[in-house]
């Protein structure tokens, strides 16, 4: 219908101070939302299903009789619950998401659409292979792109995320050593490494030893040489590393590693910075995972799913896990079981990996092409250096010179302001920005790691830098209040993480509802 406002057009009145509180706690468009368990839907459902056409059942005692304790919502209530919740999130579609090491870049909707084609989405992993030739074709094409971009002869597609890829790579390395009867014990990892690196090495049964770092933020070759030895299974590096710097001595490191009979594992989480510019094979890498959800833009989805294919050198290719796709005269075949005599270390998980991500990543790579992917690396590096140049005027960078795809700062510049890295980050939230990665890498005090990615326009980076610089000025001017209590304008104020960990409450329990209602 229509609004009859005849004679009553609104006029902007003189500014009235905002009343501190609304009567109901409402805040304009921002909706508070209870838990599904508090919405009273104990008998509701949001689906219409036919009556089961059940003759009888011999399940007897196996049947679940006690209530499960699940609430249900009608469809309109469901929509509203999740739409309201969603509006409490930051997202790459809302503004720059400058989390260093996370590569939060644009996620094309074309890829979402293609991954949902029934010919990909409505396909069972164990259908007869004659009925899934197109899907195997996608896997084969993805493998081809990844191998070509890295220069490596083999790739294992099935790992389900970066950490799973690390696992795959180290398992291959372990299998290679075992095949020679050479049981090695240690893996060398720089202190700056991502937590998954040491965690994975330990998971695979190795002792983790840290490699020292030079004053310019790279692997200390002397320390590496000292620690390399006959019981070192692998050196695990990240390149570009987590300080956003290229490991200039990579080729030499590879040579030293190989000379010691070890393998060089490269954490490829930062491949975005060099894709199309440098091939890891040309640096001497033996295994590297590629986070398709970083470099190749499959959406992070609030925490996953990802995909972490691992490219392997000639030395390791034979140890790759099942399954793999082979191309024969009459089409593609997926090999689920390693043939007699194979050196494969086995299987990482059921089925063939993250097909949904393969489609998205392949579409992303085809969209960019060889030319566009090199441009990705260039623009990512350009954007990061621009941030470093602009913010470097005020913030202190632990390492001089150009960076790769992310700019690292420490907290020396905050000395004496009473503002900590964390406070500074929370104040950024008020200004409308997601904070940078904080306190990582560990080698830098109060680290702030900023990765804009290549899909940020200059205007957005400027807006971000302006906000950071304005806050920096405020911090230096002694306006510590602005930081200590921040954020003030977000859906919630600062949360008590200490209490959460001290008395973990990890699920809703009956009885909670009334408590909340009574509050």
């Amino acid at each position: 219908m229509t609004m009859q406002t005849i004679g009553r057009p609104t006029r902007a009145e003189a500014i009235v101070e905002t009343p501190a509180q609304t009567l109901t706690g409402g805040r304009g468009l921002l909706q508070h939302e209870p838990l599904i368990f508090e919405l009273g839907g104990w008998e509701k459902t949001g689906v219409d299903l036919p009556e089961p056409d059940l003759d009888a059942s011999d399940l007897g005692d196996l049947v679940r009789t006690a209530p499960v304790g699940l609430p249900g919502l009608s469809e309109p209530e469901t929509l509203r619950h999740y739409v309201r919740l969603s509006q409490q999130n930051h997202a790459i579609d809302l503004a720059i998401y400058p989390l260093g090491s996370c590569t939060m870049k644009h996620n094309p909707r074309l890829n979402e659409k293609l991954a949902r084609l029934p010919g990909f989405a409505d396909l069972h992993p164990l259908q007869p292979q004659s009925t899934v030739q197109g899907a195997l074709g996608v896997m084969d094409a993805l493998a081809h792109w990844l191998k070509t971009l890295t220069g490596m002869p083999a790739v294992a597609l099935s790992p389900k995320a970066g950490a799973h890829g690390e696992l795959c790579g180290l398992l291959a390395i372990r299998a290679a050593h075992e095949a020679r009867g050479d049981a090695r014990k240690r893996v060398l990892v720089p202190t700056s490494a991502h937590g998954t690196n040491p965690a994975t090495a330990a998971f695979v049964g190795y002792a983790v030893e840290e490699i020292a770092q030079t004053a310019c933020g790279r692997v200390d070759l002397t320390d590496l040489a000292a620690k390399l030895g006959g019981d070192v299974a692998a050196v695990m590096l990240t390149n570009p590393n987590t300080c956003g710097l290229f490991e200039r001595d990579m080729i030499e490191i590879a040579a030293m590693t190989h000379a010691a009979g070890a393998y060089l594992y490269c954490d490829g989480a930062n491949f975005n910075a060099i894709v199309g510019k440098v091939r890891p094979a040309d640096l001497g890498v033996d295994a590297m995972h590629i986070n398709l959800h970083k470099t190749f833009s499959t959406p992070h989805g609030g925490g996953g799913p990802g995909a972490g294919p691992v490219v392997l050198s000639e030395a390791l290719a034979a140890y790759a896990p099942t399954p793999w796709v082979i191309h024969g005269l009459d089409g593609f075949t997926i090999v689920d079981h390693a043939p007699e005599g194979s050196a494969s270390f086995g299987r990482l998980s059921a089925f063939h990996g993250q097909m949904g991500m393969y489609v998205r990543a392949l579409a992303y790579m085809m969209s960019h092409g060889a030319d566009g992917l090199a441009q990705v690396a260039e623009d990512a590096v350009l954007n990061a250096n621009y941030v470093k140049a602009r913010l470097g005027q005020v913030m202190t960078a632990p390492f001089a010179g150009y960076c790769m795809h992310e700019a690292l700062f420490d907290d020396r510049w905050l000395d004496g302001t009473g503002v900590a890295t964390l406070d500074f980050a929370k104040a950024l939230i008020d200004e409308g920005f997601h904070p940078m990665t904080m306190y990582f890498p560990l080698v830098v005090h109060g680290a702030m790691l900023i990765e804009p990615t290549e899909t940020e326009p200059k205007a957005e980076i400027d807006r971000f830098c302006d906000a950071v610089l304005a806050l920096a000025t405020a911090a230096k001017a002694g306006d510590a209040e602005r930081f200590r209590g921040a954020p003030f304008h977000a859906p919630l104020r600062r949360l008590d993480e200490t209490q959460a960990a001290r008395k973990p409450k990890l699920r809703w329990r009956p009885g909670d509802a009334s408590r909340v209602a009574a509050e």
Binding site: F37, G72, H90, A91, A141, G195, R248, G353, S367, L373
Partner: protein, 447 residues
């Protein structure tokens, strides 16, 4: 290139601010010898139209489940996903956000995870659940590692009804963790046999229900025996809809539940991404892998949610972490929790009943075909049948007739000696007409 916003002018202006002569200068740290001199040998960029054409052509080379009668299961099930689910998970704020490390601007993801954990705990009958694993098989493998950490014992016993690919995934991890895996021979209804291998060295027994042959079992006795021996019971569930009809693992005494959540809210996707459900007892929670979302309050006392107990995790604990997992299956977990919210208890129970009903019809129908024997004694929505011919051959013959007639055991376990056994699943998407078509054509192929 449509995804790259920088213009030529932007690039020069930025280089000027940086003080670099050209873009190459920024790559000086890369050894000259390793730098590519030109584009790699791959096609140049393509527009949406071309990419869509190319990938649609590949998609068209596959026979999707909607194409005709379809009976595959064996750990991945073709269920209906309400359109609201897929719509909601595509919202920018869910799809394009990162792991919720800044809770003040991530309550959407966090509250949904808290609800997910609560639902998974309720479904499995366990005290607590985590925020998801990659899939059911890696959840199971992590469960075995966790049992090893808790009991500090070296042996894991895997039932013969465990999905062979789950057993393989477990074996891979167990090998490097120094855990001995005792894998029992494939058995349609042999869960109790794990007890024979149980001893003081056993950290856990891993049992699946319904098992890979479809057999549903009461595991109470196994739980009791395991506990008596100081071992843990890990229950694997690959068909999450079964939680709506069958007694929960928690009720039967499970210590850890590792389940595949794909059936709720997630498409088949040719095998992934899926979502691993992981639940356990409260007292084991500090040994659990993966993320946990917990309730707390903000500075004004309002309820809110945060990631918690992260001292178990790789980013804090590094080589002492309970697992190396970082990125998990967030968006698939979201799809799961949305679908489960739409179902509610009433809807889930009805859905499960329909699945069971259709499977019973299926079993009755194929049992009536001469030469076909239904092997599964008690089932939820999947059965194993013995055929007078190798199952894989029969399957190819039926595929040529437009019917995707399940999974041959030989595909999963070529050495099990069960080449004549076929696994057939029915769901709410299986119509009576589908069953009739299968029955008719199967009889034809066998006659």
């Amino acid at each position: 290139m449509r995804y790259l916003p920088l213009t030529k002018d932007d690039r020069s202006a930025m280089l000027a601010v940086i003080g670099a002569p050209d873009i190459d200068a920024l790559f000086t740290d890369v050894p000259q010898s390793a730098r590519l001199s030109g584009p790699v040998d791959l096609p140049p960029h393509m527009g949406e139209i071309e990419v869509e054409r190319a990938l649609s052509a590949l998609a068209a080379k596959n026979r999707s489940g909607a194409h005709g009668p379809f009976f595959c299961g064996a750990g991945a099930y073709r269920h209906h996903v309400p359109s609201s689910v897929d719509h909601l998970i595509q919202r920018s704020e869910f799809l394009t956000s990162y792991t919720p490390y800044q809770p003040e601007i991530a309550q959407g993801t966090l509250q949904a995870l808290f609800e997910f954990q609560s639902q998974v705990a309720a479904l499995t009958g366990m005290e607590v659940a985590n925020a998801s694993m990659y899939d059911g098989s890696t959840a199971a493998a992590e469960g075995v590692m966790m049992a090893h950490r808790i009991t500090r014992r070296p042996k894991a016993i895997l039932s013969g009804g465990l999905h062979p690919q789950y057993a393989e995934a477990i074996a891979t991890l167990a090998h490097v963790a120094g855990v001995e895996v005792v894998r029992q021979p494939a058995a349609i209804d042999g869960e109790a046999e794990v007890l024979g291998a149980l001893d003081g060295e056993t950290s856990c027994v891993v049992v699946q229900t319904p098992n890979v042959f479809g057999t549903a079992s009461d595991l109470t006795a196994i739980a009791e025996a395991a506990h008596a021996a100081g071992a843990l019971l890990i229950v694997v569930v690959t068909e999450a809809v079964s939680f709506g009809l069958l007694k929960s693992p928690g009720e039967m005494g499970a210590d850890i539940v590792a389940a595949e959540g794909q059936s709720i809210g997630n498409a088949l996707n040719f095998g992934g991404p899926y979502v691993g459900l992981f639940a356990t007892r409260e007292r084991f929670i500090r040994q659990a892998p993966g993320r946990l979302c917990g309730e707390t309050v903000d500075a004004e006392g309002r309820r809110g949610f945060v990631l918690t107990l992260s001292t178990r995790e790789q980013h804090i604990r590094r080589d002492k972490a309970t697992s190396n997992i970082c990125t998990n299956s967030g968006l698939c977990a979201l799809a799961f929790t949305i679908h489960m919210t739409m179902l509610g208890e009433a809807g889930l129970r009805q859905l499960a009943a329909i699945n069971h009903a259709q499977a019973r019809k299926l079993a009755n129908a194929v049992a009536a075909i001469p030469g076909v024997e239904v092997l599964t004694p008690r089932f939820f929505n999947e059965i194993a049948v013995r055929l007078p011919l190798p199952a894989a051959e029969v399957l190819e013959a039926l595929a040529a007739l437009g019917i995707i007639a399940g999974v041959p055991v030989s595909r999963l376990a070529p050495d099990a000696g069960l080449d004549d056994v076929l696994l057939l699943a029915a769901t709410e998407l299986t119509t009576d007409a589908d069953i009739a078509a299968l029955t008719k054509e199967l009889a034809g192929v066998l006659s």
